[in-house]
Symmetry: C2
């Protein structure tokens, strides 16, 4: 396998957009190609992530329409990937595998989603589609419900009073909003306090409003190519050092949702391939769809031992300057969560960090970054390790 | 790249099923693994094609749920592909590329769809999602409308009286129903006459009811592996000799819909890779979503010159024993069209033909087969050449 590099990575502002998914991705795709000094004719394949376009916008078969709007050559195949919230990361991983294998030299991969056009009642039904339609959705177990259960189980398992855990969870939200306030692309760019979180409306006990990420509109694209071509395109190529993907679909196969088994499997694959251990990671974008999800993730990824990650934000271990900088973009929590775009935006943040271009939220001297995206209720986990 | 083989290929009966997509694919996936004498633990990745599960069954993120239901190992990534009607062929092509590259040794690829649960009014809206949601759907140009226009344009372009063309189109339906009558898995297993077609209700002038394929429920799975492993699994491995995929999304980029530009590009890629020319093909499964679509396809694939394919069925050139046997399964027209499963079922038919296992519809001595699947209104075309 050839060494695979990211030559460019871009994202739109996350939040509310009037444009369609097709327009949003076309715009960011062309921006990415243009920033790399390339032309649409140079793109050999388009790997487009999108989760809800059929349901939300009446647009299936989105990839070839984006392909045409971008003016890519007919010989360049366009296809759509879907793995719930891990959609774009899976598209990027497949693109990287095929560039590594020599099938393509330059692939544009990423994702897009439009969620704010859904009415509130339809939104819950829509997002619940990533749950199991026979075993989960009919009994009313939505994603906030699953993560609320995970919080209760976590508190029980490690004998942490729920009110204590809730304060530490709130500190995760405070951290991620703090970094979101330094990210001009973030959906929410204002700081919040622990009291703001604890006084929010209850969504699914113990998760309050600010424990939950928003759904957003947005797109993000990543240009994946060979080491040789990347060096011609940019002075700062970023390399894909290791990747992993694992599946554990359905809550019914999961022995312990506080452990996120698929994440352990996927991250082990990535660490092994990269020859890197958790303590080597300088900066990590991970799947904080809820505050408790960040706590579960930092443990499953090996940054903290099981049952020891709950107060990491409180102790500032996960801030810049701490043990490992987590979600410097603001994370899903503050940067926002346009489902099919999220993984590509996480990659974009890590690329900016490793290029020393992250401005006010720069992790000084960051050389190794980690991307973690989870689909559904732990059903898919895709991990990518990037190096400068 | 390593030589890639198909060790096993199976499909459910196409037609109306009570089971969900998840159940249908799980069943056929396990059948495929079992017939190959393997176990779920042997499967290194699941590439699942599905087009409408989110909209039609409230089931996005289908791949990891199928993965768990089949008992595949957690380390084996499961992902969903979508390219409208070409969905499963695209999944299979990507699986073959990654097996060829040495990333995986054994991948289960294929697709599933459930369409008969949609109410009639919702069905039209649902299938129209594969049209361009800004430029096509709002002006009411559904797929029957596009192919009706193609028929009119074809008649005009080649100076064929429309009533003559309609009779030749009807002969395509007669042929495909004839072969469908010999296929126990087909949605429609009865023969029809030219008069049946010409006396059917008008769908979109000049297309009458029997010019149109049905939508069906069904699933199909293909086991893709290395030459070495395939030889251990089966006495009759089938090899992937060449593949192609091209994109021309949106009618607005297509200069001439009677030419199907993306198909020319995709098939050229496949022929070149295989070192095979159209006249070498013994048997071909192609995308006859409408009778006129088969005529357009046999020309674009190079079996007949442009403007000369319209009477091929009438002259029995496309029957077994003719120039090239086309759609011996019954095609989409009679075998049925469960969107996300169609490409895998086409591969399954060619595998059976090249193994001399097609029973009453066997093409004697067939050694080289061709698979052609089109997504949307010519937006995606994916081609695979198989050899015994």
């Amino acid at each position: 396998m050839r060494k695979v590099a990211i030559a460019e990575a871009c994202m739109t502002r996350f939040g509310k957009h009037e444009k369609t998914s097709l327009e949003l991705f076309t715009e960011i795709g062309l921006t990415t190609i243009n920033r790399a000094g390339l032309y649409p004719r140079d793109i050999q394949a388009l790997f487009l992530g999108n989760c809800l376009g059929g349901f939300g916008e009446g647009q299936a078969h989105m990839a070839p329409f984006v392909h045409s709007a971008m003016g890519l050559p007919m010989s360049s195949p366009a296809m759509r990937f879907e793995c719930a919230c891990a959609t774009a990361t899976v598209a990027i991983r497949n693109a990287a595998l095929l560039v590594g294998a020599g099938v393509y030299d330059i692939v544009l991969a990423g994702g897009v989603e439009k969620t704010t056009n859904l009415s509130t009642s339809l939104a819950t039904r829509t997002f619940a589609m990533a749950s199991h339609a026979q075993y989960e959705t009919p009994v009313g177990i939505t994603f906030p419900g699953v993560f609320a259960m995970a919080a209760h189980m976590y508190a029980d398992k490690y004998n942490i009073p729920l009110i204590e855990l809730k304060k530490h969870m709130a500190e995760v939200a405070v951290k991620n909003h703090y970094y979101g306030s330094k990210n001009l692309k973030a959906h929410f760019q204002k700081e919040i306090t622990v009291n703001d979180v604890l006084s929010g409306i209850m969504v699914a006990d113990p998760l309050q409003l600010l424990d939950c990420c928003p759904f957003s509109d947005g797109a993000s694209a990543v240009l994946i190519t060979t080491e040789e071509k990347a060096k011609k395109i940019t002075k700062k190529p970023i390399y894909i050092a290791g990747m992993g993907q694992a599946s554990a679909g359905g809550l019914y196969v999961q022995q312990d949702i506080t452990k996120a088994m698929a994440r352990k499997t996927a991250s082990k694959q990535a660490y092994l391939e990269a020859g890197i251990k958790p303590s080597d990671i300088d900066v990590c974008e991970l799947h904080d769809c809820f505050t408790i999800a960040e706590i579960i993730a930092i443990e499953a990824l090996g940054f903290f031992k099981a049952g020891k990650g709950y107060d990491a934000a409180t102790k500032r271990h996960t801030y810049i300057g701490g043990k490992v900088a987590i979600n410097t973009s603001g994370g899903l929590k503050a940067k926002g969560h346009p489902i099919g775009a999220t993984g590509a935006a996480q990659v974009t943040e890590i690329v900016e960090q490793l290029r020393d271009e992250a401005g006010k939220r720069q992790v000084e001297g960051a050389k190794i970054g980690f991307v973690d995206t989870m689909g559904g209720d732990f059903g898919t986990v895709c991990n990518i390790i990037l190096t400068a």
